[in-house]
């Protein structure tokens, strides 16, 4: 799907501000809550701009059907689903090709961080439900799913955090929303494990020259580090209380 340039004046004005008033390298407001679902082993709710996304983790648990079980490690299964009311036009509840692709992408982004060899012959199911979508939902989903996995007590080498850069009206920007995604020229979502700086997701939809790619990638890295702090605060606040959270964060 080729990306078309939109009306540049509406996307980035003369002062260099985007249509929602953000600067080129500014993230949307992000809020993360942990332990929202009573019935899930781990859960998280993220608001990434206007995106509202719920992640639930079940497991480790027995694999059904049993012949799918791996003898030496756990099986990670991810499902990304957009609710019919998540977009302005009703979304058909059946899994679309895009949802199947994003489910795979989320699984591959989370897998390197999990110590699945500690859970042989079991399955860990991650469900991500998009309640309201506004662009960049795969990145927000990865952030929520990683926090939910930590909430579930799964052994992890590190959290995974994701953020997207893009190109809008000929300029590289950070954290593309739905309007910019539809009318922009490129979308570059990345996911990293922040402690080791290992990249677990790197996709590009559109065209960027090497210089634009480098700038977008570095901005997305900075965006990831900011979101990682929020992930950390959410987890520490959930388990150790607000007072301890402030102390721990300092």
């Amino acid at each position: 799907m080729g990306k078309q340039g939109g009306d540049s004046s509406s996307l980035i004005n003369a002062e260099g501000l985007r249509h929602d008033g953000r600067k080129l390298d500014e993230l949307r407001p992000v809020k993360i809550q942990v332990g929202i679902l009573k019935n899930a082993d781990g859960s998280a709710f993220i608001q990434f701009g206007k995106n509202k996304i719920m992640a639930g983790v079940y497991g480790p648990k027995e694999v059904h059907p049993k012949h799918n079980a791996l003898p030496d490690r756990g099986l990670l299964r991810c499902r990304y689903h957009m609710s019919p009311f998540s977009t302005d036009e009703r979304k058909n509840p059946a899994p679309s090709r895009r949802e199947i692709e994003i489910s795979k992408v989320i699984r591959e982004a989370l897998q390197p961080s999990l110590m699945l060899e500690d859970y042989p012959r079991t399955a860990i199911d991650v469900y991500v439900e998009i309640l309201q979508s506004d662009g960049g939902s795969r990145c927000a989903s990865i952030c929520a799913a990683s926090v939910a996995l930590a909430d579930a007590g799964i052994n992890m080498r590190d959290l995974v955090v994701a953020c997207a850069a893009g190109k809008v009206a000929g300029q590289v920007v950070l954290d593309v929303d739905d309007t910019e995604d539809k009318e922009g020229q490129a979308d570059l979502p990345i996911a990293i494990m922040p402690s080791t700086n290992e990249v677990t997701l790197l996709q590009l939809d559109g065209q960027l020259n090497p210089e634009e790619f480098g700038r977008g990638f570095n901005w997305a890295l900075e965006g990831c580090r900011k979101v990682y702090q929020l992930q950390r605060e959410a987890l520490i606040g959930r388990y150790f209380g607000e007072g301890e959270m402030r102390e721990a964060v300092q």
């Binding site: 082993d41 781990g42 497991g59 480790p60 648990k61 027995e62 003898p71 030496d72 961080s113 110590m115 500690d118 859970y119 042989p120 012959r121 079991t122 930590a150 909430d151 579930a152 007590g153 799964i154 052994n155 992890m156 080498r157 590190d158 959290l159 494990m193 922040p194 402690s195 080791t196 992930q231 950390r232 987890l235 520490i236 388990y239 150790f240 209380g241 301890e244 721990a248």
Partner: protein
């Protein structure tokens, strides 16, 4: 006593560096010891570990667990032990060496839905945990109320030298059996059992509080004399939080009640 440094960590954070032994819930990455769970990191003189606050029950050999029979085959029962693995209880261990599916029926001893107190006698990466109900205090649990808590909070529920569980038993006139898998059996009158269940839930929710035992004792209305008998419960020490076997005195006392119950029930 060597100083133990503590702080809150999330997965991926560096707990210690250098020549320190990696203990529970940490992994060595080069010269760094990195946490793998959310919890309290404890770095001593030569070891580093993380005490987690949540997570599934992973069976360990010699653990006492409370399980529920969910299925059976010709040669074994399958039990739900609140873990990602089902426990296997071989029929031969219950009937004896001369067990034969032709002449013995598994449902004569245990039916689907029965609760059992069992010990894990074998578990490794290649197979499901093997259970045994041969031993003092093990076997079918004839009556009681079951409460589930996070397995990570079991040491806190037992308390230092069993102080927490004793407080709840005395305050509610109930008897309790705590499985390492987070399943708690409460035996007593209905109202007392409900009080005990509320106390257990309070312990689970407030496990991080330093004055938890005082809160529980106040909730149960213990007298001053009773409180003094059980006080001395401090914030969970590394020993209390990671070696619950050392606090098993109350567990053994609780285990014997089921032997007495079963003997009374037998014709």
């Amino acid at each position: 006593m060597p100083e133990v440094k503590r702080r809150y960590v999330i997965p991926g954070e560096v707990v210690a560096r250098g020549n320190v032994r990696a203990d529970l819930n940490v992994v060595r990455v080069g010269d760094k010891i990195v946490a793998t769970r959310v919890g309290m990191a404890e770095v001593g003189h030569d070891t580093a570990r993380v005490v987690p606050l949540s997570g599934p029950y992973i069976p360990r050999i010699d653990d006492l667990v409370v399980g529920k029979i969910v299925d059976y085959s010709a040669f074994a029962w399958e039990g739900d032990i609140n873990s990602c693995f089902f426990g296997i209880l071989p029929a031969a261990s219950v009937f004896g060496r001369d067990y034969s599916p032709a002449k013995d029926s598994l449902t004569d001893k245990l039916k689907v839905g029965d609760m059992i107190a069992a010990r894990i006698i074998a578990f490794d990466r290649t197979r499901d945990p093997l259970l045994s109900i041969s031993g003092p205090g093990l076997g079918r649990i004839p009556k009681g109320y079951a409460v589930k808590i996070s397995p990570a909070k079991v040491p806190r529920l037992i308390g230092k030298k069993g102080s927490m569980i004793k407080s709840i038993e005395v305050g509610t006139h109930c008897r309790m059996l705590i499985g390492q898998n987070g399943v708690v059996i409460i035996v007593g009158a209905t109202e007392d059992a409900q009080k005990a269940a509320a106390a257990v839930n309070l312990v689970e929710q407030e496990a991080h509080s330093a004055d938890l035992i005082e809160k529980v004792q106040s909730m149960l209305g213990l007298t001053v004399a009773q409180k003094e008998e059980f006080n001395g419960e401090e914030k969970p020490t590394p020993e209390a939080s990671q070696t619950p076997a050392e606090n098993s005195e109350s567990l053994e006392q609780a285990e014997t009640i089921y032997n007495e119950e079963e003997e009374a029930d037998e014709p």
